[in-house]
Homo-oligomer: 174 residues x 2
């Protein structure tokens, strides 16, 4: 699928998925796209746990308290590693986000749908629960979950503000 | 260009560009791809200043102390707005990074090259200088610069660690 088509078609799927597994070769292709994302100083701080064990998927759904996640064919958990790489600055959020976006576009291109779950799992002791479940050693932690699967019907991207309200030439005008 | 081809071909161009302007229609298409990136709670916190005034490009190059930036056909400045949108959490870095990745893939697909500049402009009083130059009102600030142009020759993506060292099924094993 063309890059611009994927960018246009990507949307946040927050409903049930069809009851179909995602083949491991497909999951590897999606995560390889995440691996190839840029990272600060090419430090590649993001790791990935690809969850396709149905029991683990159900446990993750319970932690997130979002029942639709139970129906995902797989969940990609993105693990971050906060570590200064340039003048005391750490870019683990940037690294993870770029990897997530590569994966969301790849998921779209391959006919699947997903949703970026982040704030939900950063509160209320959920980081500890997810670290324990997926055996992630602290201080590394699961920053983002991408539940994915085949959507029952194609959703659409939420409306965005028009170009003129978000971009200008040469001088900020917001 | 196919999504996976763009993900494979994207690379960080840290050298001079050909002396060719980037048409405004092309710049708008690239920034529109950034606008359509996902954002926390669809709050769309990232704005964009598209710099194609040669005098401003030279001034930005001087601030970054990276002389090759003088040769860019344009620079896309990504403006962030730190603002809690979910349980006290702010996602302006995620929002900006997803937009940057959409734009880097679009830049690649259109035959241009660019580099993600971030740490360089977050230190040593540079945020204040860039805000002043582009008339960005604080507390908003320029988080990322994307100098872009036609590369004299096609570069290649830096090597990434193999899949087996970054990804595992169902249990973290790093």
């Amino acid at each position: 699928m063309d890059v611009f088509e994927a960018i246009n078609k990507r949307y946040s799927h927050k409903r049930e998925f069809k009851d179909e597994p995602v083949p491991r070769e497909t999951l590897k292709k999606i995560v390889q796209a995440g691996i190839q994302a840029p990272s600060g100083c090419n430090e590649q701080t993001t790791d990935f746990v690809i969850v396709d064990d149905p029991a683990l998927i159900r446990e993750i759904a319970a932690i997130t308290e979002r029942p639709f996640i139970k129906t995902a064919g797989a969940i990609i958990a993105c693990i971050v590693n906060q570590r200064p790489v340039y003048r005391g600055l750490s870019f683990e959020v940037e690294d993870c986000s770029a990897a997530v976006e590569n994966m969301l576009l790849s998921i779209t291109a391959l006919g699947y749908a997903a949703v970026w779950i982040e704030g939900n799992i950063l509160v209320e002791g959920k980081p500890e629960k997810l670290n324990s479940l997926l055996k992630v050693p602290a201080p590394k932690y699961v920053r983002v979950l991408l539940p994915l699967g085949i959507p029952p019907e194609q959703g659409t991207q939420k409306e965005k503000k028009p170009f003129a309200r978000r971009a200008w030439f040469n001088t900020y005008d917001g």
